[in-house]
Amino acid sequence: MADYEIKNEDILDSLGEGVFTVDKSFRINFFNKAAERITGHKRNEVVGEYCKNVFKSKLCYADCPIALVLNSHKNIYDFESKIKCCNDNYVPIKLNAAVLYNDDDKPTGGVISFREISDFEKIKQDLSQNSQFYGIIGKSKPMREIFELIEEIAESDAPVFIHGESGTGKEMIANAIQKTSSRKDKVFIKINCSVFPPHLLASELFGHVKGAYTDAVKDRPGRFEIADGGTIFLDEVAEMPLQMQLQLLRVLQEGTFERVGESITRRVDVRVIAATNINIEDALKSGKFREDLYYRLNVIPIEVPPLNKRMEDIVPLVKFFLNKFSLLYKKEINDFDDEALELILNFDWRGNVRELENVIEYSFVRTNNSKIISASKLPPIVKNNNSKKKTFSKYLSDIDSFEKNQLIEILEKHRWNKTKTANELKIGRTTLWRKMKELNILDQEN
């Protein structure tokens, strides 16, 4: 025997979701604590009242979820609606609805559970807008700065050195640089310097002539020759042997090189974009990377922040990958539930965007017969992560402050002219005013 009897009411009161039930006349006969919290209505004031008189929503007339269930004989899940609170404000919610039946299979009432989605929806909408730059997903300040920089250097042929942890999307940045440059219609060659043994890397980069070494059975141009007039992307450039670094330096300085086994000097016009995931300061100190090459490459440095330093980008990335896998697997899954999303937001993502993509694909593949991925479908490493760095609400407040700073920046750019700011944001002036009020931004216009 249990020490005490657990009442259904206690169980329902312990839930984070609002729950209320109605009898068959649509009078409210139960209203849990979360429902009180979300709506501001007190249980003792609403029990016995018709639900339409409490929620006073047009939806009660057109789209009553319980009526929909009665008509369709199918329970409703994640139905988006609005609920009127005691302060007359409408709160967007997602709700589930079901009808309760007696032993004779006759409906005797209905139950609705709901959760507030206003902040979450706002973030998803705000962040998914304009968050793509040549296929790169990101709306965080550091990413926007990178996008701005890429646009600013579009006319330049100067070398670019991209730094960033593995999986942060350095190659995507290189792609964007190439696509915005004046060389966008020319050849674009990519090579990962870490995958070739030293003698083969030289041959790959600069080519060889027949007989230069055992397997060199014919003349072969290197990547620099092929990239002539265009762009070359040297990934993991710091893995290059020192001798080759010198050759690369010469290409950068003079645009000249020789094929392996040949003395003829060739000249090319190639724009170099390089990338590394190692701490370049350490590599310079230890002599693993040549300082002169570093300065030659590092004309335009770009630091790609790790994913855990740009939390604002996680939600748009999640949405992007869900869309991607929906198309790839021909399966319509468009969201994570709140618990799963919180776990995702709390995870460290040491493998960065690549790891996030893998986790989403893993969960996506495991989810069947649902449009929403639940926390149980996440890989154990994410699911069992108990480092609660951030609560969901902390994340939301971070987003607000991010949004506030972003808006102030644009306002300052236009000297607080609301019409110009609203035009840039493609929103109405009234919406801008409302947004400024919401974010407590004081008008600085003289």
Binding site: S25, F26, Y50, A67, L70, P107, G110
Partner: protein, 147 residues
């Protein structure tokens, strides 16, 4: 088609939907007085006055208190708003038998005295109408009981 769905339609003043659902409910269970009570109001709103009068007579013959004891606010009864509209019509000289009878029906959900007044007026136009006479007999007896 369940009574609960009829209740929802009735609550949201979708009288056509409510009448359809309650018709099915009453077919299965002709003694469902709550369904009948709402069906009567719904029928008056979709122009089925004769059927409304017939069901009304049946219901008050069985249990007049079910209608008389209606609390317009607590029971979310739409009758006040409905009689308002109909009474506007009578001011425009539409004092037809049907209008008076319907007002008599609807007023019983709110005020028995006013209901009886309208039924008496209707009887004045059709003194031999069986329904009206039955209804008036029941209601006048009920009024005496109340006093």
């Amino acid at each position: 088609m369940h009574e609960m769905l009829g209740n929802q339609y009735f609550m949201t003043r979708n009288y056509l939907g409510a009448a359809e659902v309650f018709a099915n409910v009453l077919k299965e269970d002709p003694n469902n007085l709550n369904a009948k009570k709402k069906m009567i109001v719904s029928l008056t709103q979709i122009g089925k006055y004769e059927k409304a009068a017939q069901l009304f007579t049946e219901l008050i013959s069985d249990n007049p208190d079910l209608i008389i004891n209606t609390d317009p606010v607590k029971d979310d009864c739409p009758c006040y708003e409905l009689v308002d509209r109909l009474e506007e019509m009578t001011k425009l000289n539409d004092e037809s038998f049907t209008t008076l009878q319907t007002l008599g029906i609807l007023w019983l959900y709110c005020d028995i005295n006013k209901s009886i007044n309208y039924f008496r007026k209707a009887k004045g136009l059709k003194p031999s109408d069986k329904n009206i006479n039955t209804v008036l007999n029941i209601l006048e007896k009920k009024l005496q009981e109340i006093h």
